[in-house]
């Protein structure tokens, strides 16, 4: 999503959304992430206005104090930015990929199933399986911090079964152009 993203040419405008819209965004965040209201309050205080940064191809980035916090494509799920996820790693369920996959991931590839099912990978056990379309934090073997954020294209049980093709579609990864934007 952010493979080629130039703030100067790809951003069309910044506006503060209406407070009712902000409220619905807050509700959406609370329902989509595993985050407590208090923590969200610390990240994004009620008093501080959210700024909606409109970008090309229907991407919206939301910022507080010029710091990008989360983004969205159309009306899709709200993805936290990788920096936010690093600070609060528990807000998204984790999946892990093996070491061999890291460099492809950092080059912007989607995650293929074998990366999760091989020895270094990690998928939640069957009783905590994730459905299709779940936001996941992609961690890497032997690393502490998440390397990417994506959305599952197959449920985790299916990934184990099919073991072929794209398992998680990556929205943002370490070193992409969104990562490069530290403030807007």
């Amino acid at each position: 999503m952010f493979k080629k993203f130039q703030p100067s040419s790809d951003i069309s405008g910044q506006t503060p959304p209406k407070s009712s819209v902000q409220r619905s965004i807050r509700a959406a965040v609370l329902s989509q992430w595993k985050i407590e209201p208090e923590t969200l309050e610390a990240i994004w205080p009620k008093k501080e206005g959210l700024i909606h940064v409109k970008c090309r191809e229907h991407i919206s980035i939301y910022t507080v104090h010029n710091e990008p916090l989360f983004f969205q494509h159309f009306d899709g799920p709200l993805y936290p930015t990788l920096r936010l996820l690093h600070k609060y790693p528990y807000i998204l369920p984790k999946v892990g990929v093996d070491r061999g996959a890291i460099r492809f991931l950092l080059a912007g590839a989607h995650m293929m199933c074998p990366g999760f099912t091989s020895k270094g990978g990690y998928l939640p056990p069957a009783d905590a399986a994730l459905p299709v379309g779940a936001l996941v934090a992609v961690h890497a073997e032997g690393k502490e911090h998440a390397v990417a954020i994506g959305i599952t294209k197959l449920s985790t049980e299916e990934i184990k079964k099919v073991n072929k093709g794209v398992g998680v579609e990556i929205a943002t990864h370490l070193g992409d152009d969104l990562w490069a934007i530290q403030s807007l």
């Binding site: 595993k34 407590e36 208090e38 923590t39 309050e41 610390a42 920096r83 690093h86 600070k87 609060y88 790693p89 528990y90 369920p93 984790k94 892990g96 093996d98 070491r99 061999g100 890291i102 460099r103 950092l106 020895k119 270094g120 990690y122 939640p124 905590a128 961690h139 073997e141 032997g142 690393k143 502490e144 911090h145 390397v147 370490l174 070193g175 990562w179 490069a180």
Partner: protein, 202 residues
């Protein structure tokens, strides 16, 4: 990779994890090895945070990392990293060269018989915020100054009045704290437009 599913129930906000980012490549330090500037990252880390360096790049740390990967794969990875690094370096070099070669044109454009505007083109190559530069110049000369697109669709600073020589002087003397600093005077040229006098060197 243990999942930390237990949610704290107390109403206190959870403290954010302090992530230790590399100052060179901006990645968390554990990912430096996948960046394009590993050598410089290592140097920086060894100097600034020797304990952390020890943790990631000591012999045993390297050994344990290899453990999960076949030797050939590891060798390939290392080769790739070196290649990537060389590439990034070459790119940075080329960018610097281009920067040094790029010209700043100070154009004196005749509007009426006696009235001129001064257009300054090419400042953005030297990482100058055009808007700030315009504001600065407007204040300096007590005139209007703005950032406009020229015929080629590139941004340039347009200052009202004939201030070409003064602008050059400011660029020459610009010290730290000045928005116009960092432009080598040798790259600046004053050009006159409309009146066919030809360019005079700076």
């Amino acid at each position: 990779m243990s999942s930390s599913d237990q949610q704290p129930q107390d109403p206190q906000p959870v403290q954010p994890v302090q992530v230790f980012y590399c100052q060179v490549c901006t990645f968390p330090v554990e990912y430096c090895e996948f960046g394009s500037s590993l050598t410089r990252c290592k140097e920086w880390l060894a100097e600034a945070h020797p304990t952390v360096y020890e943790k990631f790049y000591s012999d045993e740390a390297l050994q344990s990392k290899i453990g999960t990967l076949s030797l050939e794969a590891q060798a390939k990875l290392e080769k790739d990293t070196a290649k990537k690094e060389a590439k990034a370096e070459a790119k940075a070099d080329a960018a610097l060269k281009k920067k040094m070669a790029s010209q700043v044109l100070i154009k004196r454009i005749e509007r009426n018989k006696r009235k001129h505007v001064t257009a300054i083109h090419g400042l953005e190559a030297f990482d100058i915020d055009l808007k700030k530069a315009a504001k600065f110049l407007a204040q300096k000369f007590a005139t209007g100054a703005s950032v406009t697109k020229n015929a080629q669709g590139q941004d340039e600073v347009v200052v009202q009045g004939d201030v070409a020589d003064e602008v050059l002087e400011i660029i020459e003397k610009a010290g730290s704290g000045n928005v116009l600093k960092g432009v080598p005077v040798a790259n600046c040229e004053i050009v006159e437009e409309k009146k066919k006098k030809g360019a005079e060197g700076a």
